[in-house]
């Protein structure tokens, strides 16, 4: 991290440590989760999908949340932090637009000025989300440098933050970046896993054999994994975006190497000189060359396994959940769904909980285009 951001990060670290266990803060956050966002979300037993694959599959319905994705859990938490810190302006980076939408949404609630950085390439492929942000009063600032996708939006957001460090709060959308962000985002997203654990014990009287979630920056996955960390018998599988092939993907944990990006040391897709690679995935929200550092730890310690699903398989997953359960998943979440088919080959009869991180309305045009080709 550039030196200019240090005192800001330190201030946030101290502030968060003080406020996170504060009863009033927790009550306020619970209010927004329950009365505004729509928590707790359902843990749905997907009968048809389960029968089709020969496993017992439960879907954690983050797609049913207000704004249609798990992003709102983190945005509400951080907005509350920013509010208590007295900040007046929020900036955010966004890939698919879901985090941008959630940042714009919470800015309306708390009266912040909101600027969202989005790569030009992403603006083109997620038009509806761009318009949603604008209607929600945010300014969408196109990023025309680099690969013009999520990592470049992060770069611009960081440049803005370095320049406006005193009055602006940077609302990071996933578990990447410099400490304390990966921790803060994980903590706010862990409401997913906490609920799911309670719910599965209630319904099945036992813990799941597998947890499956898609991994881009890693927030929904860490959110569902973390509360099960000590349940050693529960295996965790993170599904990364295999994109088109070995050279054109966003699977940092599978095909990347340790490096430093955006203030975190983690697995990064980079060339032999340490230049960060341009990535690809049909799912804009997974299109990031790095991954949350905690996932790197889970991989190296063996707590979780990380696999890939390519664009084609993800589209199949999108279709199959729609056809079997009448639920249209986000393309990001479709990666997790698609992996189930592979998991079924070796885990017949297992109890599986999948994090359905978002709904797929935003992706209908993309899938249509893909299927027409």
């Amino acid at each position: 991290m550039p030196e200019t951001l240090f005192s800001c990060l330190h201030e946030l670290d101290l502030f968060y440590a003080r406020i996170k266990n504060d009863k009033k803060f927790k009550k306020e956050l619970a209010f927004y989760y329950n009365e505004y966002a729509g928590r707790p979300t359902l843990l749905y037993f997907a009968k048809n999908l389960s029968k089709n694959l020969g496993m017992k599959i439960y879907l954690k319905r983050e797609d049913l949340l207000h704004t249609g994705a798990h992003k709102i859990n983190n945005s509400l938490g951080q907005a509350l932090l920013a509010h208590h810190m007295g900040k007046k302006r929020i900036i955010a980076e966004t890939g698919a637009g879901q985090h941008g939408v959630s940042a714009a949404t919470v800015s309306r609630l708390f009266g912040f000025e909101c600027d969202v950085y989005m790569g030009e390439e992403d603006i083109r492929r997620q038009r509806m989300n761009v318009f949603r942000m604008k209607i929600l009063g945010a300014r969408v600032i196109p990023v025309k440098t680099g690969s013009r996708t999520l990592k470049d939006a992060c770069n611009e957001a960081m440049r803005d933050w370095v320049t406006n460090v005193r009055g602006t709060y940077y609302l990071i959308g996933s578990t990447f970046g410099s400490h304390p962000y990966p921790m803060i985002v994980r903590d706010f997203q862990s409401v997913i896993g906490k609920e799911a654990r309670r719910q599965i014990l209630n319904k099945e009287k036992k813990l799941p054999d597998y947890l499956v979630a898609c991994v881009g920056g890693g927030s929904n996955a860490m959110g569902i994994f973390y509360p099960f960390y000590n349940d050693k018998k529960t295996k965790m599988i993170g599904v990364e975006a295999g994109g088109i092939n070995r050279n054109l993907n966003s699977a940092s944990l599978n095909f990347g190497e340790p490096g430093v990006l955006h203030g975190a040391k983690t697995y990064i897709l980079q060339d032999k000189f340490g230049q960060v690679k341009a990535t690809h995935s049909v799912a804009a929200g997974l299109d990031y060359p790095g991954v949350g550092p905690e996932h790197s730890f889970y991989k190296e310690s063996g707590r979780a396994k990380y696999v890939t699903v390519d664009d084609k398989e993800a589209i199949e997953g999108f279709k199959s959940l729609s056809e079997l359960e009448g639920i249209i998943p986000a393309l990001e979440s479709a990666h997790a769904i698609a992996y189930l088919r592979k998991l079924a080959k070796k885990a017949k009869g297992s109890l599986v909980v999948v994090c359905l991180s978002g709904r797929g309305d935003k992706d209908l045009e993309i899938v249509e285009g893909y299927l027409n080709k």
Binding site: M1, P2, E3, T4, F6, S7, C8, T145, G146, K151, D152, N155, M158, R159, V162, T163, N164, V165, R166, E257, P258, G259, V260, L261, H262, G263, I268, Q270, K272, F273, G274, Q275, V276, K277
Partner: protein
């Protein structure tokens, strides 16, 4: 000993300047812009024009501390093939012709990928003594400093207008060569600001160390250079020079124009 390969160190340069009663004029240019080949001539021209220290930027795909001018230049350098290997080839080839100290300015990942120890060894072999790693905070620099100290590499760290007192003390303690004072809360890029406002903070930092204190970011005129040199030990000019290179490198007499431009920025 490896030490013999390093030409004049930054420390030695500042001692020399002090004896002459002069302040430092430091120029930043990105390696490989407009081309790897052109960098050699540009470096020699800067030396000819009387630059005291050259900061050579290593292009990185995600330069989060840089503004549009340097972003664009480093991006072009990357597409035209600038990398860590040809950087060291160039530096090695310049060993005999360069008399002034060179410091490499970089983000951490390219160094980490290359191997920090290997990188520092290459620096020593090419006679480069200074290192500025923009996104490496002192808190994460233990291995880095250990390797640097072993080889005599001068590690320049940053103090900003928002750096708290205790931290500034730790930063200057980790530093060698000089301490880089970033004059604005912001990214690189020319600005029409007065540097008088930072004089007070500079005075406080100066009390913490014997190291020279140099100011950078935003400087683009002789007046600003003079202002800055009055309140510190040196002025660092980056984006303004990069902009000049961008706008003139295709001209036939480019190197002559560059020399005049540099001279026009330096106080008499």
């Amino acid at each position: 000993m490896l030490q013999n390969f390093i030409r004049m160190t930054i420390k030695e340069k500042f001692n020399e300047l002090k004896k002459q009663g002069k302040k430092a004029f430091i120029a930043y240019i990105p390696f490989g812009f407009p081309t790897v080949k052109a960098t050699k001539d540009i470096i020699l021209t800067l030396q000819k024009a009387g630059v005291d220290i050259i900061e050579l930027g290593i292009p990185f795909s995600d330069p989060i501390a840089d503004g549009p001018v340097i972003q664009e230049a480093t991006s072009i350098a990357l597409t035209r093939g600038a990398n860590t290997h040809n950087l060291f080839s160039l530096l090695f080839s310049l060993k005999k012709d360069i008399k002034i100290p060179i410091a490499l300015m970089t983000y951490y990942n390219p160094v980490f990928k290359f191997g920090v120890e290997k990188f520092f060894n290459n620096m020593v072999r090419s006679g480069v003594s200074g290192m500025l790693t923009v996104d490496l905070p002192i808190d994460e620099s233990r291995e880095y400093l250990k390797n640097a100290r072993k080889l005599g590499i001068e590690t320049i760290f940053f103090v900003t207008p928002v750096t708290p007192k205790e931290r500034a003390k730790a930063v200057v303690e980790a530093s060698s060569g000089f301490v880089y004072y970033i004059s604005v809360t912001g990214i690189t890029g020319t600005r029409d600001i007065s540097y008088v406002s930072i004089a007070k903070h500079l005075k406080e930092i100066k009390k913490m160390t014997n190291l020279p204190l140099c100011v950078g970011f935003g400087i683009h005129s002789k007046k600003q250079v003079e202002e800055v040199q009055k309140i510190s030990d040196g002025a660092i000019v980056g984006s303004a020079i990069v902009k000049f290179i961008k706008e003139n490198s295709f001209k036939k007499d480019f190197l002559k124009l560059l020399e005049s431009y540099i001279r026009s920025l330096k106080p008499n």
